[in-house]
Point group: C2
Chain length 255, copies 2
Amino acid sequence: MDTTLLKGLAVLEVLAARETPAGVSEIAGLLGIGKSNTHRLLQTLVAAGYVRRDADRRYACSLRLWEKGWDVARRYDVARVARAPMVALAQDTAETVNLSVLDGDEVVYLDKIDSPLPVRADTRIAGRAPAYCTATGKALLAHVEDPAALLARVTWERFTARTPRDAATVLSELSEVRRRGYALSRGEWRDGVAGVAAPILGAGGRSLAAVGVGGPAERMPPARLRRLAPMVVAAAAAITRAAGMGGPTLARSAP
Amino acid sequence: MDTTLLKGLAVLEVLAARETPAGVSEIAGLLGIGKSNTHRLLQTLVAAGYVRRDADRRYACSLRLWEKGWDVARRYDVARVARAPMVALAQDTAETVNLSVLDGDEVVYLDKIDSPLPVRADTRIAGRAPAYCTATGKALLAHVEDPAALLARVTWERFTARTPRDAATVLSELSEVRRRGYALSRGEWRDGVAGVAAPILGAGGRSLAAVGVGGPAERMPPARLRRLAPMVVAAAAAITRAAGMGGPTLARSAP
DNA sequence: GAATAATGTTCTGAATAGTGGAACAACTGC
DNA sequence: GCAGTTGTTCCACTATTCAGAACATTATTC
């Protein structure tokens, strides 16, 4: 494996994660690699435009990473058309609304609208979570080509007492999800957080994305989740319509 | 220089730019490097999580690039607080509004609101333009630490007949910008596109970002630009206030 | 359905390119 | 001015990457 490339990406990630610029020695120490090595990697990244150095000769990420990342996200065009239905859903429910897509066996949050209430479910845009124990994740998994194949590659972790522990459990839940049209999660990923989610289906019945509503478990007893479900399903349907889904894949033209 | 790292990034960029997944040979041909080389670079990128392969064993960018990029953009937090004043400005002017930050000697568009009119200035979010010949760019340049030093590193290109050709011209215009509080551009970057922009200043009087209004030159005679200027300046001031600027740098905490 | 083309993958030896360590330079704080 | 940082350069070694060809697998054509 190209270790140079891996190290270079590691340097980039360290810088991306940092709030403040970093020096050569600091990065070298963080990654456990030599100073001279780190120095040259940084110079290469500067030459490539991903990193720049400030006046104090310290290094920080340029916006190039974001620029390239945006090119990728642009194709996951659902986010744009989903915005309006999401706002409506947020107003109707007063809970946090989020939009996710599947990336491997994880969900990535493309967009969210925070609940106005002081106590709320906190998700981060561009954040990640395992698909098999979140509401949006399960909504997505239920409509992929081969859920079993995907789940076979999962490493099962116990995040809470309620986290599902094997593929069989999740698979049976997924058929339930397909039957009723929405997915639930009650404290399976983060303790005390519950949610409902519905898939946004494209041509061929494959899931492109999922919308979900989430909040503190105390505000989300089973009865409320059942009441929220149709609203989430309706929002997902609205997004599907607005997107004019019909393309063969998730990839759609630029805005 | 670490060529492996550069090649790896080049592969990543090719994939990020493509609408559809690509195969090994195709990428190899595009970059002019060997097949086996490309193959291993791709495997490394897959291992690092930046690329994944679809069912047809073709390669595409995962959302990891976007995720990391977002971590960077998150710190350029102006975008979030700027949204509301930008919407107001867009409604008042009916032209395209955009928000830019400086990245080296280029501007990067963080956000934009399209004009409702059929003929409009077209900028792309996460797009780039040279700073010295755009309105937002000049607004930003006027308030950096050392404009002359920055301009010294510029390679002067003639994009249109009106593109400034040397540092002296731009520097004198920048002092004008500082004096009156806003910057103008009339077809210096793209023919037939004109705009006004105002800087968003942080603690210490340094520019953090700039808001601009742009449109087709026919709709933007000097008189209209002068009338738009105070509105743009007001929007910039509103954003400055909303952001509660006071930190020492652009870096602000996460949303 | 066989033959052919095209693409993805693995292998190998050769050598280049990257590595770590130390030496040097430029600051910073005492 | 001196110790203690941190950034940068140099150099010899060897591990890593590279190209090309061989092999495997899939697509295409007849």
